[in-house]
Amino acid sequence: MKKDLDRRRFLKIAGTSMGVGALYTVWPSLGRSAEAAELARRLGAKTGERPTPFTFAQLSDAHVGFDGPIGTRALEKAVATINGLPRRPDLVLFTGDLTHDTEKPGEHAARMSLFKEISGRLQVAKVYHVPGEHDAGLDGGELFRSVFGPTSYSFDHRGVHFIALDNVSRAKPEVGAEQRAWLAKDLSRFHPTTPIVVFTHRPLFDLRPDWEWFTSDGDDVMNLLAPYENLTILYGHIHREDHHTIGHAQHFAARSLCFAFPDPDKVEDKKAIPFDKDQPFKNLGLHVIDRTTGSAAHADAVRVQEVELAMNEFSGTEGFNQVLKPATF
């Protein structure tokens, strides 16, 4: 029993979660004890890559070009905040709607360039993107691919397998048979305990179908992922934080960098929360947590300014408690 408790403790996540997304610290305690080092060795033997601590951030729904009061200020502030972190994340994942669509000739490409220019200021090793329907719904993803490359892909980072899924380029909210076949093949080389992070734009479950908050073949996708015990799904689209546990999977949505939607359980109509000029970043702002004390120490450390700051002990990190669960050891 003591061994189990110890394991749970050293697997606890350090998390600085930001409302515009979330900063995740993975494997924070590995190497600090002989038992942790042994777990890392055994995980490495199973997955082919020995895990080591790292952080990454998720950002979403910047809608560059949207005619709203925030403009690109929230995106720029998020970039500055990440650059100001005492320990910058290895990766930043953008979960779609980087831009707002337009049919004015050349304008959408200009918006994509502006997004790339701002996000290019991120001083991190690697930035990954998936498209949202406003990026790729009208042209099947052609512009997105010309700027960022493929709309679905996968990569490994320090013992975690990341999968980018595209559920917007077919114009309908769906992944499609071809991409599902690719996903099945991609997953086939991994052990069921491998930590897997899927990042996509729309929720892969029926969150609110009559607000188009669903993916029509989400069940098929999740059935492919079902054997994997340490599974986290990160998505955007809904412009608000959300957390659902379904089977093994932890589904997390990040806030938007443009405007916020209300709680779908409390209102019938999907209408953006009105802009508050006195609190321009309300519901968009940074959301910082302290994993150990709940104090504002880390919030101060990231020097969040002019941005709503909320303390929440667990927001955005439960998924990695799950990811790090040594399920079948």
Binding site: K172, D210, W211, E212
Partner: protein, 124 residues
Amino acid sequence: MTRQSTFRAAAAGLALVASLLAVASPLVRAQDEPRVIVITAKRFEFSPNQITLAKGETVKLQIKSEDVTHGLFVRPLGIDTDIVPGRVTELTVTPDTAGTYRAICDHFCGAGHGGMKMTIVVRE
């Protein structure tokens, strides 16, 4: 009876049946064929934007697009179709639960796509 007269009698019989059907068929059609509701989609609205059905009533929706491809999606009523311009999309629906349902366009059609919706009321 010659082959020719046999053919003539058969033809007369067929004509009689056809004329009886011609008289009877409007009644049959009125009783058995579903009500037809025409819906037009264009960016970013449906017209009409509300229709009313009766629980248990079978209706035929004839949907057309005036511009680009749209979708019509109502999960509780089992409606999920694309509406491609240049052709009429037909759906037969028999709602079994009364209520008010939101139908949305689920084929991304432009900047106002998120607000493209209509209401389907199913009364008892």
